[in-house]
Amino acid sequence: MSTANTKKFEPLQHHFANLNQQYECASLGMWLFLVTEILFFGGIFLAYTIYREMYPDAFAAGSHHLSILLGCINTAVLISSSFTMVMAVHTARLGKKHATTWFLLLTLILGCVFLGIKAVEYTEKFTHHLVPNNTFHFEGFDGPGIRIFYSIYFALTGLHALHMVIGAVILVIIMIQNMQGRFSAEYNSPIDMFGLYWHFVDIVWIFLFPLLYLLGRHA
């Protein structure tokens, strides 16, 4: 299954002088994409900031209702998946194909665990009428702003989860390509570039977790 693919595939695109130049260009392009992603999420973080200043009590009540345990587990899971991802990049650079496959698989599993826990949290919110639609009802806090908290919660975590789903799909593709022997110690930038994306998604969660789950806890 590997022979046809490896023979046809030429890592170096004709418009690059060498693989190193190609790698530098790919890195710059990937980071440029991530820069736009930072500003993309930044807009929602800004909305969060303004509305939390407007409705501090509602936001405190809202974050009290989120499960800190599930949030903690998910943070640990995602950080661990970042570690397995960087190990996949590391082993790919050393040309250890089988180790790379295993680390990519571990990353995929951890990503799916994260999404599974997220699904449990979302289900809980749907059954308790905490989705900001016309059946929205929050016990214990009666005031404006609580709907806004849940709108922002779903916007931020939903977009983050969407990034995770897209990441999982790309991860499967890269893993198959790796098993087919497309990558080597000389050419492995797709794994490298995907790693950048995966770590970015991890960074978004690093900010989401304290802002949504933790702030307002002490009150």
Binding site: I38, I50, Y187, I203, F209, P210, L214
Partner: protein
């Protein structure tokens, strides 16, 4: 032909990755612990400081920014510079809206707007369902 300038020797190996993993997990525990103590306004500052530190660790070591070109570092810094403009300039407006106003303290950004309090469509709907 080979792309050795971005090879693993350039960015350290498994050891440093394990250290960063441990640091990230410990910092997660610290940020949870700190959230339960009342530092007043500083709870937000502490949470954001830890989050930025964790993000920096991820970018420098997991995303290999440490061994990258100056151009790439400038790119990443520009992202945060524009983020600072986005958030800073907007808050510059919101945080100063009450200046010179007679309503003063309680209207920092109109804490509880009347039009929300008068027509609580959400709670009315919710009451029907329960």
């Amino acid at each position: 032909m080979s792309a050795h300038s971005h090879d693993s020797q350039h960015h350290g190996g498994i050891g440093i990755y394990v250290i960063i993993l441990t640091a990230l997990l410990v910092l997660t525990a610290v940020t949870v612990w700190a959230a339960f103590i009342d530092f007043g306004r500083f709870n937000t500052v502490i949470a954001l400081a830890i989050a930025f530190f964790k993000a920096t660790l991820v970018m420098l070591f997991f995303m290999h920014l440490k061994g990258s070109s100056g151009l790439l570092k400038l790119f990443v810094l520009s992202a945060f510079a524009f983020l600072a403009v986005l958030i800073g300039m907007t808050l510059n407006d919101y945080a100063t809206r009450h200046w010179g106003s007679q309503l003063e303290k309680d209207s920092w950004i109109t804490r509880s707007p009347h039009h929300y309090a008068d027509a609580p469509a959400s709670s009315a709907n919710a009451a029907q369902h329960h």
